[in-house]
Amino acid sequence: MKAVALSPVISRVIAFSAAIALSFAPLPALCQQDATATVQAHVDSVLKMLGNPALKGPKGEERKRAEVRAEADKLFDFVELSKRTLGLSWNRFGIDQRKEFVALYKQLLENTYMDRLMTYAGEKMTFSRPTPLDTNTVEVKSELQVKTGPVALVFRLINQDGQWKVYDVVIEGVSLIANYRSQFREILVNRDPAALLDTLRKTVGKGPK
């Protein structure tokens, strides 16, 4: 009888300590592990799709582009990427301007790099475990093997409601958002957000479709 009376207490203690233990050590580690898994899953599926011999010719390429775009939307947080690029200048933009900025910025990146992605020829890519940057951001280091040597790629991710989203990519030490920040700054120093949007529109307009 005694044992029976004790058991709910014991199980409660066990459950409680398990909860405590989980809430400290393993959980953050688990979450961060997810960051690598997220990047790797999207990247792998893009690479697999790009290497698919069935997707040939203009029709296959159209499919590829659409799928890359869909994966990019899932992997990247373009709003976060835009905010971090602009910093406080973001506040100088009206809401509609902000929306247009995000759309144009995304378009610009897609236009330019899509063609390069299409030339992917099976280069190997490896990922390492994520390292925390602050409470809700981590970076995932990876390496791409190209013919002239390895290229260091770092993905920076933010945890948005339990989902990891990329907000910066650092290639050989060059941060994408820092690079654009330096360019946008030159415009925003003397001119208003409308001028920046104008320039962006022109740049996007002349790029490949």
Binding site: R98, T148, E172, N179, Q183, T199
Partner: protein, 279 residues
Amino acid sequence: MKIFWLPAAISILFLLPSQGAALAPPPAFSFLSGTDAGPIMLAQAGKTEGRAEGKAAAEPEGEYGNVTEDEVSKASVPEVRIADPLEKWNRFWFTFNDRLYFWVLKPVSGGYKRGVPEGLRVIFNNFYRNVASPIRILNNLLQLKMKDTGGELLRLAVNSTVGVAGFRDCAAECFGIRMHEEDFGLTLGFYHVGQGFYLVWPILGPSTARDSVGLLGDFAADPIFWLPWEYSIPLKTHDKVNYVSFHIGDYEALKNSAIDPYVAVRSAYIQNRAAALKK
């Protein structure tokens, strides 16, 4: 998604005045590269000043809402910046190099790529990297990176023998001994010499006051440079053409994705060098 950004990186590598990229020393302009400039590094200017023009829209929607100063200062990675007092001069040579690429280097490398099988081009690339070993050995040593110095020495020994005169990078492929890129510009940085100001050289591309001084050291440590010019210039040119044959389209991607290609390349160069220094 990842190789999305790869071209930008590689174009930066291509634009770097690394030992592989150098075609000729810059004798006529060396007066500009001296230490007389002094280190004028504007580091850590990460915070963008913002006036709250957007405040009018009082309660904006969700993720498109205002950012706070706190968020921004927490989010911004310390930004590397560089003084550019010679921007006009630099822009001139940037344009010059840009045309040189599109009018000469790209068509030549493109033809070369079509004519020479990839396997052979990889061999040439390995060979030139192996020949440039003294630069890496010396600078790893000067920076007291003993493990990497040993690694580079071992690489030179393995690749020059088992790798048949450096044709194959057997050190990396068979033994996993990787290359540790170092140069004299980074060695100066290691001993706390500041970047100075930004400088674009004809043919050689982006550099800084410090890295220009470093380049002279790199030339001096490069065996090819010591050959008579009838050999050194064709060899350096071939190295460059061979290297670019692997990276056609990279510079184009960087350029097309830029609002201002000059600023994009400058930022990329400075960031890349700062990261290399931290390694």
